[in-house]
């Protein structure tokens, strides 16, 4: 932990610290996805919906009304949380693979709608976030270290929430739902309610990441905010690291994100596709040979009780 706090002081290379920020950010998105996808086994492929809603909420508040992204990030979380209720009500009518497809559709519909909102949300051209230089009150920092610490705080929040849920009655209910929904229902778990609640929490956290990301890259458009790649990566890092485990998404991101960044810098952006080929090959290998994720290869942490860290195959 201390190492991660001191890292920006040691690592001064902008490329390296950019990778670190992306690792923290996508680990956080993975942690948010994992709450629902990992513990309750509700495999969403549409978390970009909430990433985008968070990003657009804070940007519209900032650019149109001059409201600080610190307020916007929470507002975005609330918008995403509220949006997840009707979206969940529809998508949870399907199970398994068709739930995943329905969530893809919701993220796509939101992207298409934001492409249409030309007056209100800048349409396909998107907009840049006004650069104020050193303005911590507007979530803008002069160097990359500020963003690094913010991403670190977000990830820490995500991990603490996961830990609290894991240790509470909710965690056990989620695992019960993930193992067998019908059986969980039969022993008295209110399945629709618990799925709704965890979806709200997961959506809220994912939206925070959306605001952070647009503040970090100073740009927003529907293709970035609702990018299918965000949905894919959220699931991918969790599965590769260890689905339904506290540290799984962090491990997965720590392996995948630097690999992809290095590949991109070696091969240049001209060779499109290589990054996703590598991702897909890793994903396939993990599913075929180690479906519980790579976290099991590391020695178990002393403070992690066996029952909780043991991955569950539903």
């Amino acid at each position: 932990m201390l190492v991660s706090l001191a890292l920006p002081l040691v690592v001064t290379n902008a490329f390296a610290i950019d990778i670190l920020i992306r690792v923290l950010l996508f680990a956080f998105i993975g942690v948010a996805w994992n709450l629902m996808g990992g513990y309750a086994k509700q495999l969403s492929l549409g978390h970009a919906a909430y990433f985008g809603l968070g990003a657009y909420t804070s940007t519209i508040l900032l650019v149109r009304f001059g409201i600080s992204p610190w307020v916007g990030i929470l507002a975005g979380g609330v918008v995403a949380m509220l949006a997840s209720v009707p979206i969940g009500a529809l998508c949870f009518r399907l199970r398994g693979p068709y739930f995943a497809i329905a969530t893809i559709a919701t993220a796509q519909v939101l992207m298409l709608l934001f492409l249409k909102f030309r007056d209100f949300a800048w349409g396909a051209e998107g907009t840049t976030i006004p650069n104020l230089g050193n303005a911590p009150l507007m979530m803008q920092f002069p160097g990359k270290a500020g963003y690094y610490y913010l991403a670190l705080v977000l990830l820490a929040i995500g991990l603490v929430i996961t830990r609290l849920i894991e240790r509470s009655w909710m965690g056990y209910y989620l695992i019960a739902v993930g193992e067998d929904q019908d059986a969980a229902e039969a022993i008295g778990v209110n399945v629709p309610r618990i799925k709704r609640d965890i979806y709200m929490i997961s959506a809220f956290l994912t939206a925070l990441a959306g605001t952070f990301y647009v503040q970090y890259i100073y740009f927003i458009d529907p293709a970035t905010a609702f990018s299918f790649n965000v949905s894919v990566e959220a699931a991918l890092v969790s599965i590769v690291g260890g689905i339904g485990t506290l540290w799984g998404p962090v491990l997965g991101t720590a392996l995948l994100e630097p690999t992809s960044a290095l590949l991109q810098s070696w091969l240049g952006s001209g060779r499109g596709g290589v990054q996703l080929i590598v991702y897909a090959a890793i994903l396939m290998a993990v599913i075929l040979w180690r479906p519980s994720g790579l976290i099991g290869l590391l020695t178990r942490r002393a403070d992690a009780p066996e029952a909780e860290s043991a991955p569950v195959n539903g």
Binding site: L90, I101, T106, Q108, I277, A281, I287, G314
Partner: protein, 289 residues
């Protein structure tokens, strides 16, 4: 006005024939093997590239190329079932979803690497020609694609109803465990189901080639349509997928005509969400999955 609507409906039905072919493939695998093949669109893409290269380098008509693309994809399907799908059966949703999903990413981006993102087209003698039926304009290439697609679907349902293997497949779709107790060899039945499903995707690819460009992500267009059609037509129901596939084509075409050129997909997704809200078990089903 009536002529515009009629024209949009005809256009929609013609392309809907292709959606139906892809949808029938998705629903066949889902019905028999109980997994969703996220890579189905990529097999349409492979069928298109097979036809494209046969047409470009050997001058073979894309429709004749059907005789190559279908058997090739049937064999790929047998291998897919034998070496990948079989290993995740009974392992739960996560491996089943993400195995074919990873395969889709792999094939799509592999194609991007090998063939580049360029759009490639094949010009045939009939690519641009059309027949006029009263006030309606009907593209010959699309009409041929539609007729062949319907013929293949009819052949499949004949196969499922009449042959022993087809009956075994329907039995496995209804109740896998009982079917196995009755002495049906699941490996063989599953392999043929996946093979046939991919052969249909390959056929869709060949049929598209005279009037549709091929590029690495082309499959996404068709697979999204197919997924929606399969939900609308009730999961695992071949006839339902066929009718819903045609409906998706018409809905998309009307959306493009009356809402805007970029609205086809929006209409399709709206239909999915509407289906889920009103009739989650689809048009032909009693209860959800």
């Amino acid at each position: 006005m009536a002529a515009i609507i009629a024209q949009a409906v005809v256009n929609g039905l013609l392309i809907g024939g292709i959606y139906a072919l892809v949808s029938v493939g998705v629903t066949l695998i889902f019905g028999v093997v109980k997994i969703v093949n996220f890579a189905q669109g990529e097999f349409v893409m492979i069928g298109m590239y097979i036809s494209y290269f046969l047409a470009t380098f050997l001058g073979i008509d894309p429709l004749v190329a059907l005789a190559v693309s279908m058997p090739t994809l049937f064999i790929i399907g047998l291998l897919l079932q034998r070496f990948l799908i079989r290993r995740v059966l009974g392992l739960g949703d996560m491996p089943q979803i993400f195995l074919t999903f990873a395969l889709s990413l792999l094939l799509m981006n592999g194609a991007l690497l090998v063939f580049s993102a360029n759009y490639r087209t094949v010009q045939t003698a009939y690519s641009e020609s059309a027949v006029h039926v009263g006030p309606l304009y009907v593209s010959v290439a699309k009409l041929i694609a539609f007729v062949v697609a319907m013929a293949l679907s009819a052949a499949l349902s004949f196969f499922l109803r009449v042959t022993d293997l087809g009956k075994a497949m329907r039995a496995a779709a209804q109740n896998r465990d009982v079917a196995m107790l009755m002495g049906i060899n699941p490996d063989r039945v599953f392999g043929v189901a996946v093979g046939l499903s991919l052969a249909l995707a390959g056929a869709a690819g060949s049929l598209l080639m005279p009037f549709y460009p091929v590029y690495p992500t082309v499959g996404q267009v068709f697979v999204l349509m197919a997924f929606v059609a399969v939900v609308l037509g009730t999961l695992g129901n071949v006839k339902g997928a066929l009718i819903a596939g045609l409906m998706m084509g018409v809905a998309e075409s009307l959306g493009i005509q009356f809402i805007g050129a970029d609205s086809g997909l929006l209409v399709v997704f709206a239909m999915l969400l509407l289906t889920l809200a009103v009739r989650p078990s689809g048009l032909f089903g009693g209860s959800t999955r």
